[in-house]
Assembly symmetry: C2
Homo-oligomer: 241 residues x 2
Amino acid sequence: MPDTIALPPYAPTPRSRVRRHPERAHYDRATVHAILDAALMCHIGYAIDGKPYVTPTLFWREGERLYWHGSSASRMLRQQAEGIPVCLTVSHIDGLILARCAFRHSLNYRAVMAFGTAAIVTDPAEKEAGFNAFIERIYPGRTGIMRRIAPPELKATTLMGMTIEEASAKIRSGGPLDLEEDHAADCWAGTLPIAMRVGAPLPDEKVAPRGTLAAEAGHFAEGAALDQVLLTLAGEERRYG
Amino acid sequence: MPDTIALPPYAPTPRSRVRRHPERAHYDRATVHAILDAALMCHIGYAIDGKPYVTPTLFWREGERLYWHGSSASRMLRQQAEGIPVCLTVSHIDGLILARCAFRHSLNYRAVMAFGTAAIVTDPAEKEAGFNAFIERIYPGRTGIMRRIAPPELKATTLMGMTIEEASAKIRSGGPLDLEEDHAADCWAGTLPIAMRVGAPLPDEKVAPRGTLAAEAGHFAEGAALDQVLLTLAGEERRYG
């Protein structure tokens, strides 16, 4: 993955500047990238005739480029073929905050809003490389033990790409922020951490799998936190708090 | 919560109809509501000057109404004060699908796209009732052991509401859908389940909490799946697959 973390921070713009709780804002690339790379799924916002749509989809990052894919038939992608403005948002829930008054209950989270112009990647070689890079990013070595993507499969799927033009991250971490006058309230206060975790593997029942899960995808160990696995695969660390 | 499940299904419209993988689409209210109610966070899409924005935020449902809140200062809410079109999207990641060729790797998920016109709830009594209902929805009984929301707190937060005008759900469940010709591929194939789970509670360090977590929020037991806890609180069951 090209190292673009050394670039200057994203400049806050009228579009990307965090207005609510600006103390939670981050504009440096390392923080923005670490939030993106800890996620499999993003929510892509686009407008058709001024009306908003938000589509959840798998995505991945290469340097300052974000990629996602879908069927060539999808409305979103047909619209985006011409290159349309997109807001790609990623969020992680990290914890429930139980405070000592209703108003100060909150959520620990990490989120990124990335703005750019999305367009279809038309070159078949770039498409194939992109899909394989996505598989390799999650399951290193896996494309080497499977057949290549067939031309009809490549044709049936559209690869979308956008360069990050503007971006901001927003992070809440730590415990409740109660008013001193509420400290004597007769209730439990603190954080209930939340994480997406891997469960017990379910082998395909239709045909007994060959191979070995531990060797092929042992990094997704039962109980592991998905965001941590993805960050480790990307050679990054979770940064916040 | 008003029972609106008995109403007819949401009618698929050009805006809400699922085009990609229509076999994964659901339009009945019970399925749509169960996906919404299993989530704490949604992604709200709106357009300003035709440009899309997607903001992650906490939300809750009452019948056919969806509510979310934020600071009165937020750009999104100022824009939405006049009542603007919104797409509110919720997604759950349920599993990674390891298939026998790159193209058929997938994700198990549940998602809802709900469309409506969002507007600010201006009546203070309705606002206070709304915020308390949200706390009670997650932590039943909790508003009774804490002081009331103070007027300045109420003023500092905006409550947004929208009635669901159109909605659709999309669900992928089950294992890999490999081609028969790939069944002999020498790799593990199956599902790695993913769920958001509650971790070990972290009591507030600034002031020792009073009260008892088990009595106040014991339903968020360590290891519990967040979506299941929320569905149980809503008196619903997870439906899919």
